[in-house]
Amino acid sequence: MSVDKSTVARIATLARIKVPEEDIDALADELSKIVGWVEQLDEVDTEGVAPMASTAEGTVLRQRDDVVSDGDRRDDVLSNAPDTDKGYFAVPKVIE
């Protein structure tokens, strides 16, 4: 499958990455090559094989007891934020 220019623009929008118009052609070409490489897997016959949800088959999902053991560390949580106020993260106004 080849990735066309509009698909590149769409992926960029979904990922919130600003891509200059002049870069799109090159990116489309690069992404097409990556997808093409992965598509080699299509040669494997997977008829009747259930999709694999994990590569760690046989390993059990680790579970936690329902105990409060974390939180109460607001300063840590907010420490990387560019702007905070009254204990909140302050972000550019979101208009819906």
Binding site: S54, Q63, D70, L78, D85
Partner: protein, 486 residues
Amino acid sequence: MTEKNLIKGQTGDWEVVIGLEVHAQVIAKAKLFSGADTSFGAEPNEQVSLVDAAMPGMLPVINKKALEQAVRTGLGIKAQINRFSVFDRKNYFYPDLPQGYQISQFSDPIVGEGEIIIDMEDGESRTVGITRIHLEQDAGKSVHDMDPRSTYVDLNRSGVTLMEIVSEPDLRSADEAAAYLTKLRAILRYLGTCDGNMEQGSMRCDANISVRKPGGDLGTRCEIKNVNSIRFAAQAIEYEARRQIEVIEGGGTIDQETRLFDANKGVTRSMRSKEEAHDYRYFPDPDLLPVNLSEEFVEEIRASLPELPDEKKDRFVAEFGLSAYDADVLVAERAIAEYFEEAADGQDAKTVANWVTSDLFGYLNKEGLEITDSPVAAKQLGALVGLISDSTISGRIARDVFAEMCASGKDPADIVEEKGLKQVSDSGELEGIVDEVIAKGAAQVEQYKSGNEKIIGWFVGQVMQATKGRANPQMVNEILRKKLAG
């Protein structure tokens, strides 16, 4: 489908088709994938772990309780439990979603198809299909009105466990949707898996609504987001159905879109249309292994299920001879059902049911109290009914005693004793009073004799006045009829 659900338009009748998605906050002390506290009302960002804040390198570890609660809910709605399920990432960007994705379940949810029986006001019941229940993380909270330039974000709710409970498009009116939400909330509360508190946001509802000519093809649907009370859900559906009918009858078409309900104005309005449809690019979360539940795990939960509203209702009808309507009212909340059963223990259950649903509810409503705050304990209400049953007091006097019980919290027997309210059932005493009344009411005696039997009420009233309401009404009636006939 019943006629009464149809909406009249200018071009004839319309049928509304509704499916509901309910987000129910799971009762658990800690969050779905972190050990942070879930209790309501903390200061902003006090209940956030570095996992919830999506700091790099942090890994989610699932809370066993969340799995238990989802399975418990599934069993409570007689649903298929999927012993294999998968957590996926649902990718989108919003300031209150620090990960840039929500951990949710997409193609392999923990609970599959089930059903909920809804009870309508007219006593009819209908079965509504449940498509699935899946577990997911809640997002944080955005506050838009604290600052003119900034949106404030509080991550306390970020990562709290939600169950998304999806119904089939089986509902046909706003009333049915309200009945569904009421019943679902009751079941969740009985199970102890969600507190159902819509004002605090622990149960929220999205409604998918379309209209069609009866029996026709499904119309294009609109989704109404985040309705936070049962009453608002009914209002939103009612408004949206009529809006869609008006658009179609006016020659327009319905665009599939997301709309918001404005509770102040009672209308739905379009959310600013997105540049393109959402594309969530779901994929299995590589940080989490699939969930494999043992049969033993599921069976242990099944064995611990409480008696649920439907079973309780059937038992109340069979065991106590209650009407389906009364039984519905009493099982609507677990606390009410428990109160009733305690009060009815050893007493006439039908009379107890009447006292609970009329007098007690009347008082609690007036005072704005919950049944758990009732000043009259269940045993005391039962004792009051006992005093009526053994003719110690009449039903009329019982109302006065009840009012006193509400005010003072005293036992009914003590109130009857203190105030001398014991019923007069002594036939000699009553006959004397009846004689006096008959002697005073020559004109009324004349009317009675000329065929106006209703005038007997006047005599009863006089006897009651003379005894301050304490006369045994049956006996008074008997004595009066005997003497007036003579």
